[in-house]
Amino acid sequence: MATSGSLIQVKDLKKYYNGGAIKALDGVTVDINKGDVMVIIGPSGSGKSTFLRSLNLLESPTGGSIIFDGVDITKRKYKNADGKTVKVDVDDLRQKMGMVFQHFNLFPHMTILENMVLAPTKVRGVSRADAEQKALALLDRVGLKDRAGAYPIQLSGGQKQRVAIVRALAMEPQVMLFDEPTSALDPEMVGEVLDVMKELARDGMTMVCVTHEMGFAREVGNRVLFMADGQLLEQGTPEEIFTSPKNPRLKDFLGKVL
């Protein structure tokens, strides 16, 4: 996949807790390009999820910058094209980044269809009819059109996660963030979710995935990042990372998971 310019530039991103005693992120710098399928691997507690959640400001970074669409979103204000100082609109920013969580986080008091049309109608002002039509088309894509009237509790884990993915897609995001999307699933349901993600990648969606699925990282990712102790220790193509790792921590990690 040819890359066409960077979409998100992360510079020296830091997230400290307890006045710097705990460094969840300790200076991460990386460019995310359009069309990238970036897979972040690493031991638990390495800051992968914190990094991902910082991208759409679910965590507010202690330091560093995240340039998205030409705007440093970690600052509260920025100068626009006319030189005026404007507030960073976090809600607007988050619309452009879809996020999928480990525990699905579907809204249990709404049907699948309502889950999907809520944000498009309330946030983007799409008409109810258009939103429903789009939602049904998306559900059809993941084979769940016939469950549109069901409640989340009636779905299996794999089905819930597929709904969560298309719910995020309904907002037509520029980038999709996946936070361990298969970690809470029964083994036999992992495949159906990964298939949806693979299809997304083939369609050219920019994706950042924190995952423990090394097979997925190898097969679908075009860049693999290895993180430990809040730092980005090594990055490269899946080929480079999995067949000729250089960092001893990465070698150790791969020895345990492969």
Partner: protein
């Protein structure tokens, strides 16, 4: 030497039956309005307590941009005046007797503010009923606030994260995601508070609200019998509260079935 209950006293109450019927209506209306007012106050207070407004936030960061964790400045930077006001309201109202609150509202506040002097439905004196409702509403608002707050806090944080990541604002998140789920969870607790208010409303007879208790007093004043009208009042309160709590229990069971589906 007379016995504890004298049956021949009951017929003496019959001429005053009208007072008990009116008292029943007053008690029910009082409770309904109290819950309505209390709920509105509670919702606002709960949202205030959970708000994150910190006007001195900038004091919490030192010159190098590192957040302060200790010291007076860190403390001031975390101060939320909106939450403080709501917390003070709740704690004061919960830590003082209802009767003191009612007297302060009736003799204090509405001793200064003149209320229109008219009767509702021909037997409810507005200038006494209204202060009673306000006082009970403010009091139950404090208790309901804690119920609503716990309801909101019981909703998994992932719900908010999902809503915000879809671009919903804080207000939209509350309105469409958090409150509908929280209110469903706390409906039994709100209904229980309703039963508590029915019983507590008896105290408003002290400011001359003509509820069931005031009917007892009227009978005592006219006939000098006290135990028998009290027993009638007991029966009426029981007939109000017991079925209500049974109905609540029924809905509670039905709703929990829905969750296990």
């Amino acid at each position: 030497m007379g016995s504890f209950i004298q049956l021949e006293n009951f017929p003496k109450i019959v001429p005053y039956a009208q007072l008990f019927w009116q008292g029943l209506a007053v008690t029910v209306l009082l409770s309904v309005f109290t819950v309505a007012i209390g709920f509105c106050i509670a919702l606002v207070m709960a949202l205030m307590r959970l708000s994150n407004i910190r006007p001195f936030r900038f004091l919490g960061v030192d010159a190098n941009g590192i957040p302060r964790e200790t010291g007076a400045l860190a403390f001031i930077s975390k101060f939320n005046p909106v939450s403080f006001i709501a917390t003070a309201y709740v704690e004061i109202l919960r830590s003082t007797p209802v009767i003191v609150q009612i007297f302060i509202i009736y003799y204090g506040i509405f001793g200064v503010i003149d209320l229109p002097n008219f009767t509702m439905f021909g037997f409810i004196k507005f200038e006494r009923f209204f202060p009673g409702v306000v006082a009970l509403g403010m009091n139950s608002g404090a208790y309901l606030c804690e119920i609503i707050r716990s309801g909101i806090q019981s909703i998994d944080g992932g719900q908010t994260e999902a809503a915000r990541s879809l671009g919903l604002s804080q207000v939209q998140n509350m309105r469409y995601i958090i409150l509908p789920q929280a209110l469903k969870n706390i409906l039994p607790a709100i209904a229980n508070e309703f039963v508590v208010i029915i019983k507590e409303s008896a105290i408003t007879y002290t400011i001359g609200v003509q509820d069931i208790m005031s009917a007892v007093n009227a009978v005592r004043g006219a006939t000098f019998i006290i135990i028998e009208p009290l027993l009638v009042a007991t029966a009426i309160y029981f007939c109000l509260c017991f079925p209500t709590s049974k109905v609540i229990a029924y809905f509670e069971r039905r709703m929990s079935h829905g969750d296990k589906r």
